[in-house]
């Protein structure tokens, strides 16, 4: 599935994460991960993001994750919302 429109979920507040998904013309998924704890958790954030994108069957999108120290359950919830919003018409 391709991302249909630009969407966000979450926020930049402390302990939250802002997910922005924008459509891409090519069939690929681009990940941009920023985090205030990138050294400790960057790899984990990327892994969770990729897993969820694959599970949601996204084939064309740019996924921008700006983490402000969110717990993994928060990250998952925000990703789920954003992914669903991006493909809803």
């Amino acid at each position: 599935m391709k991302a249909q429109k630009s969407v966000t979920a979450g926020s930049l507040e402390s302990s939250d994460v802002l997910i922005t998904i924008t459509p891409l013309a090519e069939t690929r998924v681009e990940y941009v991960i920023d985090s205030i704890v990138i050294k400790q958790f960057g790899a984990r954030i990327r892994k969770v993001t990729e897993e969820m994108a694959v599970a949601a069957n996204i084939s064309a999108a740019r996924i921008h994750v700006q983490d402000r120290g969110a717990l993994e359950c928060t990250l998952r919830a925000r990703l789920e919302t954003a992914l669903e919003r991006s493909v809803a018409c």
């Binding site: 630009s6 966000t8 930049l12």
Partner: protein
């Protein structure tokens, strides 16, 4: 829980009363009320306005938090809400102006710094495509072309013999010349037309490349006051100076190295106050060397200087040829007199059917651009 965070409610400010509350908040934080109509958001706790921010086109402006609510995440909440509104409007690249001292606070919110002038302004951007993508495109353009090239930045509203003379001079004094065209579409002649007439007007020069200026050269992000009416007030002059410094610091630190530019050519400006302030600031920022002088403009000491060559305006019968003169003649219904001020390519376009709506617009406008 509201979208903006616990205890806060975000809503659009529309009424006079709401907007004057916002003005009071901005003034209490030593900020001026930004120009331009846009989407103004307020963050309330109960009936109290605790933070505000606005989205004007693709620029976040007038962000302020009540001094009693600092450190409570109100800034993050307001910025997040504004990003959301922007994304809903398919604006994916955002700019933010702030004081250089406040820049760190926004960098913590995921904004990246484009340029910052100590004790002056800073420009930041948000989005997954940014200045790095633009610079990569510039490096692709410059690949294989000579080093120590020249550059001119032009609006050409429209392209005249004055522009032609400047570009001809610059091209004959540089191994290669880049003509960067202001892309912001707020001039009477649309960008596509300005770009096309420049290309046609310099087609015979073999060492010239015409490039769209993009978001980082005299755009409403790098230089918002360029597009508003000049004001003689001291505060307005100060703002112009501050924005000019930021635009020029961006040019020197980011754009010139990507293109391998060592010289910037500019025509003296006899008419427009904003442009002459810009040119004065250029003489200070671009060639500054030595640690103390360069760092005063927020430049790393190793950023190579760009020499500035200011060329007197091309004159016909003792009068400087400029685009504003051309527009003035059109406005006065003296189109025939324009012919001797512009190259044949521009004249041909002005006489064509495509020009009619533009000419009509000029006759009914008193815009500076």
């Amino acid at each position: 829980m509201s979208e903006a965070g616990f205890g806060f409610e975000a809503r659009e400010l529309r009424t006079k009363a709401e907007l004057s509350e916002r003005t009071a908040l901005l003034v209490s934080r030593g900020l001026t009320v930004p120009e331009g109509a846009g989407f103004v958001l307020g963050l309330y706790q109960g009936e109290r306005l605790v933070a505000t921010g606005a989205l004007v086109r693709n620029v976040l402006q007038g962000i302020a938090v009540d001094s009693g609510f600092e450190g409570e995440g109100a800034a993050a909440a307001i910025v997040s809400s504004l990003i959301k509104r922007a994304i809903e409007r398919d604006i994916e690249q955002l700019f933010l102006f702030t004081t250089n001292e406040e820049a760190a606070r926004f960098r913590n919110l995921g904004f990246s710094l484009i340029a910052g002038v100590p004790r002056g302004a800073a420009l930041l951007e948000w989005g997954s495509e940014g200045i790095e993508d633009y610079l990569k495109a510039l490096r692709d353009v410059a690949r294989g072309k000579p080093e120590r090239a020249g550059a001119v930045v032009v609006n050409c509203n429209p392209f005249t013999l004055g522009h032609r003379a400047l570009i001809e001079y610059a091209a004959s004094h540089s191994p290669w010349l880049y003509v960067l065209v202001v892309e912001e579409d707020r001039s009477l002649f649309p960008f596509e037309v300005r770009f096309k007439l420049i290309r046609e007007g310099v087609a015979d020069l073999t060492n010239v490349t015409v490039i769209a200026g993009g978001l980082y050269i005299i755009s409403s992000a790098t230089f918002p006051t360029y597009f508003i009416r000049p004001d003689r007030e001291e505060a307005a002059q100060k703002a112009i100076r501050m924005h000019a410094a930021l635009d020029l610091a961006t040019f020197r630190a980011r754009i010139a190295p990507a293109l391998g530019v060592a010289w910037r050519f500019v025509g003296t400006e006899p008419f427009c106050g904003t442009t002459s302030v810009y040119n004065e600031t250029m003489q200070l920022v671009l060639p500054a060397t030595g640690t103390a002088e360069a760092t005063a403009w927020g430049l790393e000491a190793e950023v190579p200087p760009v020499e500035v060559a200011e060329i007197p305006r091309f004159e016909i019968d003792g009068e400087a040829v400029s685009a504003s003169k051309v527009r003035e003649l059109i406005r006065a219904g003296r189109l025939a007199e324009v012919e001797r001020l512009v190259p044949p390519s521009t004249w041909k376009w002005l006489c064509g059917a495509e020009a009619a709506p533009v000419l009509e617009k000029i006759r009914h406008s008193d815009s500076r651009h």
